[in-house]
């Protein structure tokens, strides 16, 4: 193979700028989508464990829908199809006036998809706490809301830190799909550098290293979190 390695392109001002901007968008999509995924995922996950049949049904439907349609398809649906099927005024606004539509769409698509996965973890965590403690909390005089707030959620959140870490890593990796709707995040920028400089190996190596560093950082934070919230003498039933 006759390949001219040239790592210095990565540090040329223009291309370095692209990489940094790519990292910026990757973080912007992943983190904001994560906040959305947590908010929706906790609600839906809790909803699936509630005694109310209709609420549990709606939440189950949400999970099945968003978890089973491929993320790429969901992004296309949000980006290309939704603006066409909403009422005319809204569609026009989405197409013409929505600021930064690629970014907003990526956040919503990735956030709502990841929410279905978060919801499953939350539900599993709550179920792992068990009915004994739930009964004890009710017997102690707590309402359903208080039982969740003070007993079920604090315990289940601790139980699900490890699987949630892996979801958090996945949201960074999945954010690269946003390039398909035109968002210039990290993968898209490396691809662009490759096209401009013909130094594809360097560009994608850079992207790989950055993804790995993000993953290691997130894992480290998760381990600290786990240590910090560990319950003395408690071994989870999960």
């Amino acid at each position: 193979m006759n390949y001219n390695w040239n790592w210095s392109v990565l540090f040329e001002e223009e291309y370095l700028g692209w990489l940094i901007s790519g990292v910026g968008w990757t973080f912007a999509v992943a983190l904001v989508a994560w906040v959305l995924a947590l908010a929706v995922g906790v609600l839906v996950g809790v909803g699936r464990t509630l005694p109310s049949k209709p609420v549990a049904f709606i939440c189950t439907a949400y999970v099945e829908l968003f978890r089973n349609v491929p993320l790429l398809v969901q992004l296309f649906l949000w980006y290309f199809v939704v603006p066409e099927i909403v009422p005319d005024d809204m569609g026009r606004w989405l197409k013409r006036d929505l600021p930064n539509p690629e970014y907003v769409t990526a956040v919503i698509g990735l956030g709502l998809y990841t929410a279905s996965r978060v919801a499953e973890q939350v539900r599993a965590g709550i179920n792992a706490v068990g009915s004994g403690l739930t009964n004890a909390a009710y017997a102690n005089g707590f309402s359903t809301a208080q039982t969740y707030r003070y007993v079920l959620l604090p315990i289940s959140f601790r139980l699900i830190v490890p699987p949630m870490t892996s979801e958090f890593l996945t949201i960074f990796k999945n954010s690269s799909l946003a390039l398909t709707i035109g968002l210039l995040e990290l993968t898209a920028q490396s691809q662009q550098i490759a096209e401009y400089t013909f130094q594809g190996f360097e560009a994608f190596t850079a992207a790989t290293v950055i993804y790995v560093v993000i993953a290691l950082g997130a894992t480290l934070i998760a381990q600290l979190l786990e240590k910090h919230t560990r319950i003395p003498g408690f071994v989870g039933k999960a």
């Binding site: 004890a136 003070y150 003395p232």
Partner: protein, 242 residues
């Protein structure tokens, strides 16, 4: 104080409770016993509405537990319950276990709740352990904390569901002692247990269940000395002979 009238309950087509009727007067201690699967836990959980019944009625101090409009949360705050597996909040210290419901349900001040918690924990001899988490205590200690947690709510009655069944033999007495003391202080108690020594010592009546039915409901001495049903005779024979 607790009146159970003719209640029946089904899980699907399986009948767990069949026409059960009994009562616990104020200050009375009633022991519920019977073979495994006879419906003891289910019966006691119906008293504070943890389990609904399909037929019959339960009344606690004039409040219809089985009435759909009854505020069960409010009622449960006034009835203490102790479980076989303790069910302490594992993520909280002993102190927080005792204070949480006092503050969030009864709206007591932090100081008031703390004072109550310390007094109760001291009574069961665990004051040095008050900042520990449940997982750091032995089973017997955890159950004493669980009893204190229930008492912190100043309950009008206490329900116990096999409070010593999950304990190592050497820890049973430390829990029974607390319960005996409670009984002697005049607490209204409904206790599911196989500890017949405890029953003989403090129970006013013994309710014997089999197959979802209340087979005997007798004054304690009569139950032990002259059990009427064959089932109860059998049961006593087995349980007292080892």
């Amino acid at each position: 104080m607790i009146t159970i009238t003719d209640i029946s309950k089904w899980y699907g087509s399986f009948q767990v409770l069949a026409d059960c009727t009994t009562a616990v007067e104020k200050g009375e201690v009633v022991v519920v016993c019977g073979p495994s699967g006879s419906g003891k836990s289910t019966l006691i959980k119906c008293v504070n509405g943890l389990e609904p019944v399909q037929k019959g009625s339960i009344n606690v101090e004039g409040i219809e537990v089985t009435d759909k409009s009854t505020n069960l949360t409010k009622l449960r705050a006034r009835i203490g319950m102790v479980f076989q597996h303790f069910e302490l909040y594992p993520h909280m210290s002993v102190r927080e276990n005792l204070c949480l419901a006092q503050e969030k349900v009864l709206r007591r001040s932090r100081d008031e709740a703390n004072a109550k918690a310390e007094a109760l924990i001291d009574r069961v001899g665990l004051l040095p352990h008050i900042e520990k988490h449940p997982g750091q205590l032995s089973g017997g200690q955890q159950q004493r904390v669980a009893i204190s947690r229930a008492l912190a709510m100043d309950p009008i009655a206490m329900l116990f569901d096999e409070p010593t069944s999950a304990l190592d033999p050497e820890m049973i007495n430390e829990v029974l002692d607390v319960m005996v003391e409670l009984a002697q202080d005049g607490m209204t108690m409904m206790v599911v247990t196989h500890e017949m020594g405890f029953a003989r010592k403090v129970a006013d009546r013994v309710v014997f269940m089999d197959d979802g039915r209340i087979v005997e409901d007798r004054v304690t001495d009569q139950f032990f000395d002259h059990p009427e049903s064959e089932r109860a005779q059998d049961f006593l024979g087995k349980i007292l002979n080892h």
